[in-house]
């Protein structure tokens, strides 16, 4: 039977606020355990939550950027469950009246536009982190993350292949980064994704039993996990064992490369949601919405179109340039210093991206890269020397001019100076000159090598070659004359 895959995603995203959602503690990642905590976020008796309006504003931005309706009246609920990472034993979340609903993200599937619908986005507080001490029957708890504001984005089951799910996630991540809602660092847990996957015969409307997959730590893992689960379910259908597909949560075991059962539907929590009595409903004024709407920056798709129009670059390079807001911003900064967009793009797509594989910041001021590009244009330094300067720029605070000076990379392009050196080289290598005259083209290369040697590599190769050829042809003509 021909089957199709149905995938829906639940994405948790940490909002980019300075302080937590219900108290004044810092949200900084990586602080010493339990230092970003207070009586409120550790749920001490008698403490009360007070909503951080900045979290609401960011949730609104996310909603707007993802084409959602904003519920100007929404509310918080308590989600009850016992687990030591949740110090109140309930999570303050939003149940039946979330802040955003009915959004979408468009992705490109086989050249055509496909719309992935977003069911809802709600706000909630993050939980703490359990640290199981290896070899000891001890578990430590770090409450620094407790109360960091999150949004949970829930999609409709609109994706039909694991690849579509990844394409959607890439687009979603770019939008959230662009709108500065979150830094979306999966490795730090500021973007986390659970996936629901089921299969059904083509043409069937109703959804079959789905499986939820958790513990997905990168887009690569998500892709692998979905593909594995797809194969597992497909085989069960093929062998008429579909009854074995149970509604359950499975954990992705990346080491073993497979999903394993975590808990079944029967073990599922009854969260006993009810309205949070400590927080009044959230009311968002139209004027607030308008003000926020005005502040929403250009989204990746718009930027792509503008780059095509304004800089006349090809799609491939634009995709690299807009893959991160930071890179697009850097590109425009370099271009603003009057270098050609094409050159700037070449340097960024090549050299900057190479170094960004190991670094998460661009350490070279845009102006420096622009100056470097101009020095090549003007023939002051060679392209290979420029690459050397670029690497040094990344590691030091020096200007490109300083580095060129220090490394004595200024090309000898003054005609008089060069001519003198070339004349000497010709004089000293009569055999090579003779060979060239006899049609041995390689001798030209040998002579160039000698010129570079004599100038410590500072000769502008283009000029040097021109002069050399001119001299040689003059000599030929001279002999004939």
């Amino acid at each position: 039977m021909a089957m199709e895959t149905v995938i829906g995603l639940e994405i948790h995203v940490e909002l980019n606020t300075k302080t937590k959602i219900f108290c004044g503690c810092s949200t900084e990642f990586g602080a010493k355990a339990n230092t970003n905590t207070c009586p409120i976020c550790t749920g001490l008796p008698g403490t009360l939550p007070v909503l951080n309006r900045e979290a609401v504003n960011l949730a609104i931005i996310a909603g707007k950027a993802l084409n959602c309706q904003i519920n100007t009246l929404n509310k918080f609920d308590r989600k009850n469950y016992f687990y030591p990472d949740s110090p109140k034993a309930y999570q303050i979340s939003q149940f039946d009246l979330p802040i955003c609903e009915h959004g979408y993200v468009d992705i490109n599937v086989a050249g055509a536009n496909k719309r992935i619908n977003i069911l809802r986005i709600h706000m909630e507080e993050d939980a703490g982190k359990l640290i199981h001490v290896e070899g000891k029957p001890v578990t430590l708890i770090d409450y620094n993350r407790t109360g960091v504001p999150l949004i949970e984005i829930v999609t409709e089951p609109d994706m039909r292949t694991p690849k579509e799910a990844i394409d959607f996630l890439v687009a979603l991540k770019a939008i959230l980064e662009y709108s500065e809602v979150s830094d979306c660092k999966m490795e730090q847990g500021s973007l986390r994704c659970d996936a629901n996957i089921s299969m059904r015969p083509f043409g069937q409307e109703a959804l079959n039993t789905k499986v939820e997959i958790k513990n997905l730590n990168s887009f690569k893992e998500i892709l692998k996990a979905l593909e594995k689960e797809e194969v597992r379910q497909k085989e069960l259908y093929d062998f008429k064992e579909a009854y074995k597909i149970k509604q359950e949560t499975r954990k992705w075991d990346s080491a073993k490369g497979r999903t394993v059962p975590m808990r079944s539907k029967e073990d599922a929590h009854d969260y006993r949601y009810f309205p949070e009595p400590d927080l009044p409903p959230v009311v968002i004024k139209e004027s607030t919405l308008d003000a926020i709407e005005k502040k929403i920056p250009e989204m990746p798709e718009e930027k792509k179109k503008r780059f095509e129009r304004q800089y006349k670059l090809n799609e491939k390079e634009i995709d690299v340039l807009i893959s991160k807001k930071m890179i697009a911003q850097y590109f425009e900064e370099v271009v603003s210093h009057e270098v050609s967009p094409k050159e700037a793009s070449n340097w960024i797509v090549g050299e900057v991206m190479r170094i960004l594989k190991e670094s998460d910041r661009i350490e070279i001021p845009g102006k420096y890269l622009a100056n470097l590009i101009r020095m090549i244009d003007m023939g002051k330094i060679s392209r290979s020397a420029a690459k050397d300067v670029f690497d040094t720029l990344w590691l030091t605070d020096k200007t490109p001019e300083e580095i060129v000076e220090e490394k004595q990379l200024i090309q000898m392009s003054g005609a008089d100076e060069l001519e003198k050196v070339i004349f000497e080289v010709i004089e000293q290598n009569p055999d090579a000159v003779e060979a060239y005259k006899n049609g041995k083209e390689q001798s030209k290369g040998f002579l160039m090598g000698q010129i570079m040697k004599a100038t410590n590599g500072q000769a502008n190769p283009k000029f040097a070659m021109e002069i050399l050829l001119k001299k040689l042809s003059q000599m030929e003509r001279g002999e004939r004359d």
């Binding site: 008698g46 403490t47 007070v50 110090p87 708890i141």
Partner: protein, 491 residues
């Protein structure tokens, strides 16, 4: 002076005229406490040392003729569910027996700022669940008027402390009557302000949408002074009211009740109400009429369903509020566990008393999937209805006159095995919390046996001023506030 009779007003006056020092007053109270509290059991924790240091500080201020804050040098007893920085706050529970909060409740901060001196933390029903203070994990508080009787609850320790002359002011909390009923049982003034008028930050929650902090005093005037100190918007409490509360309740306190309209809900005076209480209240109604108040009977059809809605909502909220006591971070931890689940389960099983467990189970049940609509949702709808019924009543009346409790103070042990009977003793007070209204309980007479009887005045939202004015007029007319119990050292 007779310290056991002293009001806040009298003590303030004495300080001003240098009749006595703060230290003398604080010492006098502690003398009484040491003499009688072994019997009364009003306190869980005493803070004599810090109180005396504070007294010295205020005395110096007086000597230097510095400006005095409203409650400067006034001893106050605080219910043991209000967080006090560095001082044990137990909720009368084994669960929090050794819990020392690292912060002060907003009410404590306000009391300190106004110069009040905390003398100790008072006994209560565990986590404020109960109507007799018998649910304390530590001790049973006795009614100063009759040591065989309960002081009411849950703020029984605070009520008994004021009646026994251990403090002129005590702080309590009222979720379904926990200030007004013990005030009635112990014969003093109990004020439950409008929900949101006093910050709940640092009040260990029982039922968040119903809990409200209030005062026990000997007089209505003192209650006004206390309210003035503890009220006000708090940015730490998102449910705290903004732009409400009168700055000085004393200004209109003596204005009298001439022309004011009082409603008597006829449903409140039917079956189940003790005859002696009914008689005492009717006598008060007569006094009110004589003073020029207009009194009218009307129908307020909410009592029975109100009790159910109250127990559903309060238990639901309690089940979540008390979930944090899991033995992980603070509070009681069992020694008997093999993994995280048994650690949490056994800590809660061993740390909580039976009434608390009963409420948690009820609350968990009414929120469970499949039952939510039948219980919690219905209760919330009824809550809306209760609010609108009261709202309609206040279109016509300035205040509603009601009993506080349907029964007189009962014997210790009499109702401990019958939770329903215990719950019914809140029948006249709970709807006030369901609607978030302010209400006050003041003494209005005594039974033949010599037990105090209270009368409740219920006001509209944020109309504490009107309520205090009416209560003050009735109190002055009845002239009961100087009647105090005679304490015996030994049973």
């Amino acid at each position: 002076m007779n310290i056991e009779k002293a009001t806040i007003e009298e003590i303030r006056e004495g300080y001003k005229t240098k009749k006595f020092t703060v230290k003398e007053i604080v010492k006098a109270y502690f003398e009484r406490i040491y003499k009688y509290d072994d019997t009364i059991n009003a306190f869980i924790t005493l803070c004599e040392e810090t109180a005396l240091v504070e007294a010295q500080r205020v005395d110096e201020k007086i000597r230097n003729n510095e400006k005095m804050s409203p409650l400067e040098g006034i001893p106050v007893a605080v219910k043991d569910l209000i967080c006090t920085k560095g001082i044990k706050t137990t909720c009368a529970s084994k669960m929090l027996e050794n819990f020392i909060p690292p912060y002060d409740a907003t009410v404590m901060t306000k009391l300190k700022e106004s110069g009040a001196i905390m003398i100790g933390k008072t006994n209560m029903d565990e986590f404020a669940m109960g109507s007799s203070t018998e649910n304390s994990a530590f001790k049973i508080t006795r009614n100063p008027w009759n040591l065989k009787k309960v002081p009411g609850g849950s703020s029984g320790g605070s009520a008994a402390a004021v009646s026994a002359g251990f403090a002129p002011l005590a702080i309590g909390s009222d979720t379904g009557g926990s200030i007004r009923q013990p005030a009635a049982f112990c014969g003093n003034v109990g004020l439950k302000p409008t929900y949101g008028l006093v910050s709940r930050y640092g009040l260990i929650a029982f039922a968040s949408s119903l809990d409200q902090i209030g005062t026990f005093t000997k007089t209505v005037k003192d209650a006004a002074l206390g309210l003035q100190t503890i009220q006000g918007h708090d940015p730490m409490d998102a449910t705290s009211a903004q732009h409400h509360g009168t700055k000085n309740y004393a200004i209109h306190l003596e204005d009298g009740i001439k022309g004011m309209k009082f409603g008597i809900p006829k449903e409140f005076y039917q079956e189940g109400l003790n005859e002696e209480i009914k008689t005492a209240i009717m006598a008060s109604v007569e006094r009110i009429t004589k003073m020029g108040g207009e009194v009218e009977e009307f129908s307020l059809p909410i009592t029975d369903a109100g009790l159910s809605a109250y127990y559903i909502i309060s238990s639901a909220e309690a089940s979540a509020n008390l979930a944090r006591y899991d033995g992980i971070r603070y509070g009681y931890r069992t020694e008997n566990f093999t993994d995280i689940d048994t650690l949490m389960l056994n800590s809660r099983t061993e740390g909580f008393g039976s009434e608390v467990k009963r409420r948690i189970m009820m609350g968990t049940y009414v929120l469970s999937s499949g039952y939510y609509d039948a219980y919690y949702k219905k209760a919330m709808l009824f809550r809306k209805k209760v609010k609108s019924i009261f709202n309609d009543a206040f279109e016509k009346y300035d205040a509603i006159i009601s009993p506080v409790s349907p029964v007189l103070p009962f014997d210790i042990g009499e109702k401990t095995d019958n939770p329903i009977q215990m719950y019914l003793s809140d029948i006249y007070t709970i709807n006030v919390n369901v609607a978030g209204l302010p209400a006050i309980s003041i003494p209005c007479g005594f039974s033949e046996e010599g037990l105090p009887i209270g009368i409740q005045l219920i006001g509209n939202l944020y109309e504490e001023e009107k309520l205090l004015k009416s209560a003050h007029a009735l109190e002055q007319d009845l002239g009961l506030c100087n009647t105090i119990p005679t304490l015996k050292e030994v049973l």
